[in-house]
Symmetry: C2
Amino acid sequence: MAAAFEEAEAAFARGEVPVGCVVVDGASGAILARAGNRTVELADPTAHAEMLALRAACAVCGQPRLPDCDLYVTLEPCAMCAAAIGFARVRRLVYGADDPKMGGVRHGARVFAQPTCHHRPEILDGIDATRARDLLRRFFLERR
Amino acid sequence: MAAAFEEAEAAFARGEVPVGCVVVDGASGAILARAGNRTVELADPTAHAEMLALRAACAVCGQPRLPDCDLYVTLEPCAMCAAAIGFARVRRLVYGADDPKMGGVRHGARVFAQPTCHHRPEILDGIDATRARDLLRRFFLERR
């Protein structure tokens, strides 16, 4: 989670919504990929931290599925990212702050709670939630 | 929709689930981007036709939002693609066959029906649905 926060802080410094993500090998704990939000820089609405980290981890592994991997992200994933995490067959999802407005795990689309969901990772939420929420608050306060 | 089917047929020929997508300028009707599924080729679980076409259209326009654009796709988008379509502020979504198993528009996560959904495109469904369904059926029959 420390590396995910480094990525979130780096995103903040780039003027991006401060969310960071890492994908780790579940057995060794080695980081396979890490990313922060880059939607502004890349002019790409899909360039959320989770999507970039998932795609990079799949590129490292040479396969579209990551059944032995865990994904750490500072904020509750949105519906897009949650569905992508499911497609990638991620073993465990660990996230920080809840996101009642944009989240798609515990809120909104509740992707993994749908009967049509084909893969539901183990989910650990609320990890370093206060730090993640404070980072986002500081970002949006500065933007106002 | 004809171009979307060309992309779906091309995906079929590459051994990918045959779904095709185009993003058009809503005013002129000009095609900004077109893509078929490439999840196998790219080893990327996010490489659905809609995601590739959205990202390419944003790259063409140099911005992460496409409020004057319409997206045509042969199959009901999944939750990931539906959420991405929302983030991109696509004006109109036109799709072919329903997808009760993986769809996230009329089925499953019903992304645009959530109270937390920030942008809901105009939706036209069932366009050339039989052709889209037949193409998918043929693909999965051949795979068995």
